[in-house]
């Protein structure tokens, strides 16, 4: 494949940021809906929000924040030339991602087990605002979950590249970009957490 002759790390990071902007607006669409429906059914949202498991949410917040720290550290580590440390930190990040998804799995299955999912007989009997809340909850956390998986795959790929030396202390923009993507996943969760788990 023909590549541009020079390397432009700043350009690559800038491109990644632009991509993150589109991701922000992708979730932005859901936040618009959230805002509107919260304004319309405040009580129902508060009631339904209480049913989400605060421990699960808090643990997952801590897991994601920590993973964000690990991947940020891994960038610094690679820049300083400590490849082994970088690999360990990356492994830690991916492990956190897995942990997050396992948590999410249990959380979702508990909800579904209680008959809380779109179109369930249980939801049919409740006030409509609660149904909207849970539908939004599933769509938002579902989309976020997809991003967690994609981010983890991306980090896994970069892990391999770091391991076989294709990404190193002199050429680390791929790692930086993967890390940026991962931070975005964290960033979105920072808003999901209070809006869904801590509401009123």
């Amino acid at each position: 494949m023909s590549e541009t002759p020079h390397r432009d790390d700043l350009g690559a990071r800038f491109g990644m940021w632009l991509f993150l902007f589109t991701e922000l607006l992708l979730f932005g669409g859901l936040f618009i809906l959230y805002a509107v429906y919260l304004a319309r059914h405040p009580e129902a949202f508060a009631r339904a929000g209480k049913e989400l498991s605060l421990p699960f949410g808090t643990v997952n917040t801590v897991v994601l924040l920590t993973s964000s720290l690990l991947v940020a550290l891994s960038v610094s580590a690679l820049q300083r030339g400590s490849r082994r440390l970088c690999l360990w930190l990356l492994a830690g990040t991916i492990l956190s991602a897995a942990l997050f998804m396992v948590n999410k799995y249990f959380e979702w299955s508990a909800k579904i087990h209680h008959g809380i999912y779109p179109g369930s007989p249980e939801m049919a009997g409740r006030e409509t605002g609660e149904g909207v809340f849970f539908s939004l909850y599933y769509v938002t956390t579902g989309l976020h979950g997809v991003h967690v998986v994609v981010g983890a795959l991306l980090l896994g790929w970069v892990f391999v590249l770091v391991k076989n030396g294709r990404v190193d202390s002199g050429n680390h923009v791929l790692l930086e970009n993967a890390a940026l993507y991962w931070h975005l996943v964290d960033l979105i969760w920072i808003f999901i957490f209070p809006l869904y788990y801590l509401i009123l």
Binding site: G11, G15, V132
Partner: protein, 544 residues
């Protein structure tokens, strides 16, 4: 696969088109990361879909030639205009100028070897191609061709049993492709300008692509998420737009138009860029009000993101929102007016030649003005109530989209394709085709506005008899337009394949693309150019 300087010199005057510079056969195209080859890929696919859309338009007009069922029944008609709209909007006009001409000329105009992310660029085309095939596939699979209109309004789009899900998914992919193109262009413009290519020396086409790209990046994701929700509504019944379950169907319209209004500026801004580039060249005069044109593009992009509600004046939205969106809609018309005045002023005391590109560019100005001024009727709340969802709106958007962007697309074809094929078409035949199209166009679409004023709703396959005469005239106009189009394409095709050699600078342009051979070599410039004058400094470029 990187061409060595060696293979280049052998490739001679066929430049990037030489089969020797790429993988053999089709693969040399569909896997090439050369921005020019990707540009041509876009050109071919976009033109192909334009022809598909045009044939669908012809069928629509035939059905409307008389009241009652003429050639197709209601259900087929609904599929026809849905497809016509989806193909024209998502497969032709949105990717059209940026995908084809943006890719072809953007890197050369700023003195770069390629875009910032060539492989991502190829991925954009692939997403577009797969999305387009899926969209066509929705015709032949599942519950039959989608019948929602290109606007996919809920609750109908959630309830209908036709193949909406696949079509929606296809549009999602194409949206993603559009985002990647925008991202690529912004980065390229920021990072890859040649030495001396300051912001003030960017051709206005680049400025327009730049403002377009921001709209693509910031608005398209909203369409993406909206379509995902429609899919989930259909597949899982999430109920987010279902009033019976606490949702609100009007929220769909907000989300849809938050994208789709800015999208009309994605369609027209690059077209304005083309025109801003062509008029100075054929007048031998610098663009009048360079900065006014450049910044009004940004202003359109910015203000255009604030007016989406004007599609919803009768939707049941609050009157307060009607007030705000109507006011802002009028504000967004001002930068367009500024552009028009600057274009006209550029002509003043020039040395004007009416070669086909110029003819199409000036036609753009006229037809866009007609369409844009009818947009003012739509932006005014009181009058929009009457003409909303009538053929007046259909007339409006064909004037701005076909008369505007479509004509600019033809202008760009006649302006830049000789550069990329190295051959010239027959200018007299092109002028003749233009004349037919100009007449046909106005007969076709002006009558549509009239019949809309009389109250004929859109998306009607059958209508009351008082609308008959105007519809008949309109259909006849479509034949004249179609004939002109046919001649235009045949003439271009013949010229580009077998015409006279065009030479590097057939029109006397002063921007960078005219300094390289036609067709340009793979790496565009043997060594990075130093830019010493602006894109319209004809004197400094030695043209005058």
């Amino acid at each position: 696969m990187t061409p060595t300087p060696d293979t280049l010199s052998q490739s001679g005057d066929r430049g990037f088109l030489d089969p020797a510079v790429a993988a053999p056969g089709l693969f040399g195209w569909i896997f090439s990361t050369d921005h020019k080859r990707i540009g041509l890929l876009y050109l071919y696919s976009v033109t192909a879909f334009f022809i598909v859309g045009v044939l669908l338009g012809l069928l629509i007009r035939l059905e409307l030639i008389a009241p009652g069922e003429t050639i197709v029944g209601a259900q087929t008609y609904n599929a026809l205009f849905t497809l016509h709209g989806v193909v024209m909007i998502f497969l032709f006009i949105i990717p059209g100028i940026p995908g084809a001409f943006g890719n072809l000329v953007l890197p050369i105009q700023i003195g770069a070897g390629d875009v910032a992310f060539p492989r991502l660029n190829l991925l954009s085309w692939w997403l577009y191609a797969v999305g387009a095939l899926l969209a066509l596939g929705s015709l032949f699979s599942g519950g039959g061709p989608p019948d929602t209109g290109w606007t996919f309004y809920v609750p109908f789009s959630v309830q209908t049993t036709t193949n909406v899900s696949l079509a929606v998914f296809a549009v999602f992919l194409i949206g993603f492709s559009s985002i990647l193109t925008g991202l690529n262009f912004i980065t390229t413009i920021h990072r890859l300008r040649a030495p001396g290519m300051g912001w003030g020396r960017l051709p206005l086409f680049i400025w327009s692509l730049y403002s377009t790209a921001w709209v693509q990046i910031l608005a398209t994701p909203i369409l993406g998420i909206t379509l995902v929700i429609v899919l989930l509504e259909r597949l899982l019944g999430t109920g987010l737009f279902d009033p019976a379950r606490g949702g609100d169907p009007i929220m769909f319209q907000h989300l849809f138009w938050i994208y789709s209004h800015p999208a009309v500026y994605i369609m027209v801004l690059p077209a304005m860029g083309v025109v801003s580039d062509i008029i100075p060249v054929f007048s031998r005069k610098p663009a009048f009000g360079y900065w006014a044109i450049a910044f009004s593009g940004i202003a359109i992009a910015a203000a255009g993101s604030l007016v989406w509600g004007h599609h919803m004046f009768t939707s049941g939205m609050s009157d307060m929102a009607v007030l705000v969106f109507s006011l802002l809609t009028f504000i967004v018309a001002i930068p367009s007016a500024v552009k028009v005045f600057n274009w006209v002023a550029t002509l003043y005391k020039g040395a004007i030649s009416l070669d086909p590109p110029m003819l199409f560019a000036l036609t753009f100005v006229f037809l866009f003005a007609v369409g844009g001024l009818s947009g003012l009727i739509l932006g005014s709340a009181g009058t929009d109530v009457h003409v909303h969802d009538t053929h007046f709106v259909v007339g409006h958007f064909h004037y701005v989209m076909f008369g505007g962007t479509g004509m600019a697309f033809f202008a760009a074809m006649h302006y830049w394709l000789p550069k990329f094929y190295g051959r010239m078409y027959n200018k007299r035949i092109a002028t003749f085709a233009w004349a037919l199209m100009f007449v046909g166009f106005n007969v076709l679409y002006f009558t549509m506005k009239l019949v809309g004023l009389k109250g004929m709703p859109r998306r009607y396959y059958d209508y009351v008899s008082e609308f008959h005469t105007l519809n008949l005239i309109s259909t006849v106009g479509s034949w004249v337009l179609g004939l002109g189009l046919l001649i235009l394409f045949v003439n271009l095709f013949r010229g580009l394949m077998r015409g006279e050699p065009a030479g590097p600078n057939p029109w006397g342009g002063a921007s960078l693309e005219w300094t390289v051979p036609s067709p340009p070599p793979v790496e565009n410039f043997p060594e990075p150019p130093r830019v010493t004058h602006g894109p319209y400094d004809f004197r400094e470029a030695g043209i005058l």
